[in-house]
């Protein structure tokens, strides 16, 4: 009886998570049709992160996992953040082929510094 109630509870949680995921997907789709400027990208990524968190927390059971498994899960993300962070330091501060996000004032000193002496 206790088992049965536990199963119903789990199934209900999974069902609600599934509905939440589909609603978030529609929210993400809808937001891309609004002109939010740079916030379009932010909303897309924030919603995707929420969806991924639901999958990891409830479907992949990080909620019930011990510290070791949680640590491994975080380690993957941590290493990736280092990869993105360190690489961006390079790509976002180049004088040659500057990124569109770099401000024009940033470029002359960089170009002067990279000019051969």
């Amino acid at each position: 009886m206790v088992d049965r109630r536990r199963f119903s509870h789990t199934a209900l949680t999974l069902g609600l998570a599934w509905i939440a995921l589909l609603l978030l997907m529609l929210a993400s789709l809808g937001s891309s049709y609004l002109n939010l400027g740079p916030w379009n990208a932010v909303s897309g990524l924030v919603i995707a992160t929420l969806k991924a968190a639901i999958v990891a927390w409830l479907f992949m059971r990080l909620r019930e996992s011990g510290p070791l498994i949680r640590l491994v899960a975080i380690a993957g993300l941590g290493l990736w953040s280092i990869q993105i962070g360190l690489s961006s330091v390079d790509y976002a501060t180049r004088a040659v082929t500057p990124a569109a996000i770099q401000s024009p004032q940033q470029l002359p000193p960089l170009q002067a510094a990279s000019r051969p002496h």
Partner: protein, 206 residues
């Protein structure tokens, strides 16, 4: 500390599950490089990125997202059924349904790739869009969706084999194996969760 505590740790982690999580952490870095390349492209050719993204099929992309999210919920339910003696009869069927949803995803993706080939969106000399960066977007689009597709094929194969093994009550298709396979499937789902806004929804307005 007594010797019993050393030989019989109370909370011994499930090695299979831990191994899969370590593998998934390495997969984060595997896909991570491509996401980094994407970030570079999007910040350097924002115009090319938004133009190219508008040429992806948002309807099929959304259908596929729904298919994959549903398949993830179904395989999570399969794991829950396997752990409850009164619900075990559903496990094999739910695993088969997950594999079927995954196959449907790949069929839809196949139609999409075919349409993109016809519209000259495959990078090369006859590429259709004349905007700087658009070609780079589609290089990443095909590499990322292709690599994701390869992961899908592996996942579908594992789930189909487990479904068959479970229905025949094979020992190698037990709760632990099913849970580990489900973890892999959820990861493939998470990769797509990020690919969906990054590839299909860059800029749909205007």
């Amino acid at each position: 500390m007594s010797s019993a505590a050393l030989t019989e740790p109370k909370d011994e982690p499930d090695i299979g599950k831990l191994g899969m999580w370590v593998f998934l952490a390495s997969e984060v870095l595997f896909f991570g490089g491509l996401f980094l390349a994407y970030l570079y492209g999007r910040t350097h050719w924002p115009q090319g990125w938004s133009t190219a993204s508008r040429h992806t099929d948002v309807v099929l992309g959304t259908v596929n997202t729904a298919l994959l999210l549903t398949s993830s919920a179904v395989v999570a339910l399969a794991v829950a059924c396997e752990e409850d003696a009164t619900q075990r009869r559903w496990t094999a069927r739910l695993l088969a349904l997950t594999a079927a949803l995954g196959t449907a995803f790949l069929v839809v993706k196949g139609f999409e790739w075919h349409a993109e080939w016809d519209e000259h969106l495959v990078p090369g000399p006859s590429f259709a869009l004349d905007v700087p960066g658009a070609q780079e977007f589609f290089v990443l689009y095909f590499v990322m969706t292709g690599l994701h597709g390869v992961h899908m094929i592996a996942g579908i194969a594992v789930l189909a084999v487990l479904a068959r093994g479970r229905s025949r009550r094979r020992e190698w298709a037990g709760a632990r194996q099913i849970e580990v396979a489900a973890l892999y499937w959820h990861f493939v789902d998470i990769v797509w969760i990020f690919l969906y806004p990054l590839l299909y929804l860059v800029q749909r307005h205007g």
